[in-house]
């Protein structure tokens, strides 16, 4: 989807908000800490990482640009819970479901730290097909994407690059956002800045993206 989330290379933004944007976790707003913790503790049945990301992509575009980061997460969790039928829009409006299930167990700090360690999930999947490309090979990215959710940004469409690394087969986000589990070969692909941005770019510079095989054709 050519959505507002696809920000790479968009011009017209001002200075990087470094001042006030450099706080440690302990010093950010309480609601932001709370949202981080909610995200960490909450499981919403069947939600894949790609459906989560696509959910944020479908936010109202003006909100996407103006909301603080964790405010987007909040909107997205509400959307996910509504979509799953866990809560209703009426609940959201009232701020309460009106009843209360059995309370969730409270993890201790030790539990949390153990959970963090166990969260180093692998996205690699077995693959029968051999990779189509080898490191060093030139490739071209697709000019058009036919997918609601894709991880081939608009700025890197229809551009020639070079395979830097092959990472085996990883879950394809385009499928994951549909709740389907399918892997294809993943590569790091290196692009010259001048091929992406034209002659204004510095010829010494490169941008490397991690791209799945269906995004690529031989150059």
């Amino acid at each position: 989807m050519d959505g507002i989330h696809d920000l790479g290379g968009m011009e017209g933004f001002g200075p990087i908000p470094i001042e006030g944007g450099d706080a440690d976790f302990a010093d950010i707003e309480a609601w932001e800490q709370r949202m981080w913790a909610l995200n960490s503790q909450m499981q919403v049945d069947g939600v894949t990482i790609d459906w989560f990301r696509h959910g944020i992509e479908r936010m109202v575009p003006a909100d996407y640009l103006s909301f603080a980061y964790f405010n987007k997460w909040c909107a997205n969790y509400l959307m996910l819970l509504l979509d799953n039928g866990v809560i209703s829009m009426e609940d959201v409006r009232r701020g309460t479901t009106g009843d209360r299930s059995a309370p969730a167990p409270a993890p201790t700090l030790g539990d949390v730290l153990a959970t963090v360690r166990k969260s180093n999930r692998s996205f690699a999947v077995d693959q029968e097909q051999p990779p189509a490309f080898m490191p060093g090979e030139p490739v071209r990215t697709l000019a058009h994407i036919r997918s609601d959710h894709t991880r081939l940004p608009r700025y890197a469409r229809g551009v020639e690059g070079t395979i830097l690394t092959h990472h085996g087969s990883h879950l394809l986000p385009d499928e994951g956002a549909k709740g389907r589990h399918a892997g294809t070969h993943l590569y790091s692909v290196c692009f010259k800045a001048t091929d992406l941005w034209g002659s204004d770019a510095n010829p010494r510079d490169t941008v490397t993206l991690d791209l799945w095989e269906p995004y690529l054709v031989p150059a």
């Binding site: 069947g46 969260s119 490169t206 941008v207």
Partner: protein
């Protein structure tokens, strides 16, 4: 279970846009109340997560990894070969580091990490990402004009140094290994770790200084 229906998601978001108050603190409070009532989270558990990221999981972890890569050449090799595996030696494996890649700065190359499509970040070794990393400004500009972005962070790169921008479009996460500053030859790992800034591990800081230690 999710509908996985893109249009339905957009419509729900438009309804939320209409019905919710604009104050983010109120919105998050609403989400917390509903999630507690549905038994999805517990307030005490949320406190434990906040404590974990305030006190335990943070950029000091990355700094320790970098410091060891400076003092232990064999560790550095393991880190460059498979960073996800190498950080297990510290017990730092975890959220968003199942596929971690370490990239090293040199005299002629500078690495800069961004996620243009969302804000991917290696949480378990760097903690929460800074707000600027998640800003639309950084996401839009880092891939197109990295040298101007670096200049805003006080990093002025000569033309002799190439910039390698890494846009985290998949589940690989990146850790920049900054260069070890001169004058730290006899320092131990802890003292070295103290001068490794978070930003240097993202790439928005380059020249670490011995004095800072």
């Amino acid at each position: 279970m999710p509908s996985f229906d893109s249009e339905k998601a957009a419509e729900l978001h438009r309804e939320l846009h209409t019905h919710l108050p604009s104050d983010p603190a109120l919105r998050v409070k609403t989400l917390e109340s509903l999630a507690v009532e549905r038994g999805l989270v517990s307030p005490d558990g949320l406190d434990a997560w906040i404590e974990a990221y305030s006190e335990h999981v943070g950029p000091k972890r990355g700094a320790q990894v970098v410091a060891r890569s400076w003092t232990d050449p064999e560790f550095r090799q393991r880190l460059l070969a498979d960073a996800s595996q190498a950080i297990k030696e510290f017990g730092f494996e975890g959220s968003a580091t199942g596929h971690l890649k370490a990239v090293e700065n040199t005299e002629t190359e500078h690495n800069l990490i961004v996620c243009t499509l969302c804000s991917c970040y290696p949480f378990s070794i760097l903690g929460l990402s800074p707000a600027w990393y998640k800003s639309v400004e950084y996401r839009a500009r880092a891939v197109r004009e990295p040298r101007k972005v670096l200049a805003e962070f006080g990093v002025d790169l000569p033309d002799s140094v190439g910039v390698r921008v890494w846009d985290s479009t998949a589940e690989l996460r990146y850790l920049v290994i900054p260069q070890r500053p001169a004058g730290t030859e006899d320092w131990n790992e802890d003292r070295l770790a103290a001068i490794v800034s978070r930003n240097s591990m993202i790439g928005t800081d380059r020249d670490l200084r011995a004095e800072a230690g």
